[in-house]
Symmetry: C2
Subunit: 266 residues, 2 copies
Amino acid sequence: MTINVQTICGWAYEAGTIAMSHFRRTVGSRKADDTIVTIADTEIEQFLRDEIHATFPDHGIQGEEQGSSNIGQEYVWSLDPIDGTNAFASGLPIWGISLGLLRHGTPVLGVIYLPVTDDCFWSEGHDPTDDGTAAFWNGTPIRVRSAPTAPAAPYDGQDWLAITSDAHLHYHVRFRGKTRSTGSTVAHMCYVAQGVAVGALLGYARLWDIAAGVAIVTAAGGVVTRLHSSPPDYAQMLRGTAPPSALLVAPPHMLPILQAEISLLA
Amino acid sequence: MTINVQTICGWAYEAGTIAMSHFRRTVGSRKADDTIVTIADTEIEQFLRDEIHATFPDHGIQGEEQGSSNIGQEYVWSLDPIDGTNAFASGLPIWGISLGLLRHGTPVLGVIYLPVTDDCFWSEGHDPTDDGTAAFWNGTPIRVRSAPTAPAAPYDGQDWLAITSDAHLHYHVRFRGKTRSTGSTVAHMCYVAQGVAVGALLGYARLWDIAAGVAIVTAAGGVVTRLHSSPPDYAQMLRGTAPPSALLVAPPHMLPILQAEISLLA
């Protein structure tokens, strides 16, 4: 089947308009798990579900706020209406709308839109093993950071690693550059895809946090793995049967370096 | 003497326009200390120096890029043309223009402008011991977070502490909420002044990184101290004779909590 990624980007822009109409006007409330949800999350997820139902009636949908429907289908969307709701509710600028599409449990397409900075990231190509896949930022092709030619070091003190906001409680990070934590997992994945960050340590992510980002970062030449292990099992994550796991997102040459420089705190 | 803070805000907005004309178009180069400087830093510092010279010919000036002149004067400006140059050069949205005014070595007025999010913070009142001081964000009075009424905890897992980008290498942070590191010291101070962050751990700051922020956060009811010690000696910092020191910025009730939860790594 053909999916026009520009249609999906159009939904993301519309969702961004909804989000901006609430930004700095909305106070969040606490969900059962004590994270924050805002009226913007709820409105945007409903908007995206309606668009998907109308355009792809046989696709399944999993969303952060409203749960799953028809996730046994060949194609399933995994949606985060606002990734970084805490940052959104604080008035910080880095948060985004994330639409990931899985085929047979593998992320094959992603669109991520960060409205405050008007950054739209997307991937093209439906299969990450297909050489025709590519990733874009506002129309420009993007690529993860390349390995430097020796004897240059793989990174220096001005380079930065994106880390999860609870990294200080769970990990010993020996990365000898800067770390940044902005509040948005999807933004961190895009910064790696774009070559701006040299890697990202994600906390215990759910599929909607990463489905779009996995498609984009993979299309940009990056890899996503569990911290000291193999890639996550996205099909298991979709079914909710995957054990929680921290993830690393990086260009291939940075992966072993970051695995050596990050360990769980005792 | 009378200083119209709206004039200073006007300079900050003009500086922001200069910065935005370079944002995402400029690549930084390395300074002798291996930090990044961009053409925007240089242009903005010259613009601000010219405005100050023309308006306050007897004031001293200290700037990040061009050094100090007449710092023995009663009034001295401490300027950071772009605080967060690394973030600026990465295309990240949180960086800002910072103008602090010291009188006899004490920060008495600050203006900080974050152009991407169009956030202007300033303080009014020339003496932080004067009850007439107040801080503002885009015209709205701001105040640091108030102490909650017992038995509520002073903060919870959704609250966040701003930390320096090298905190992972130097500090053990046991704060049981989120940490964020955006790349801009001045933004972190403003987020505390605004009550959005419950505190900030700043790295080894120079006076131009903090002069404006100290005036703003103090006017908003916050405190600035060395990590486990007394307030910094700003007059010594101006003369360049203060030993480098990490700083805490917080509402008064959070200060002892953060001092207990942050220690130097062995």
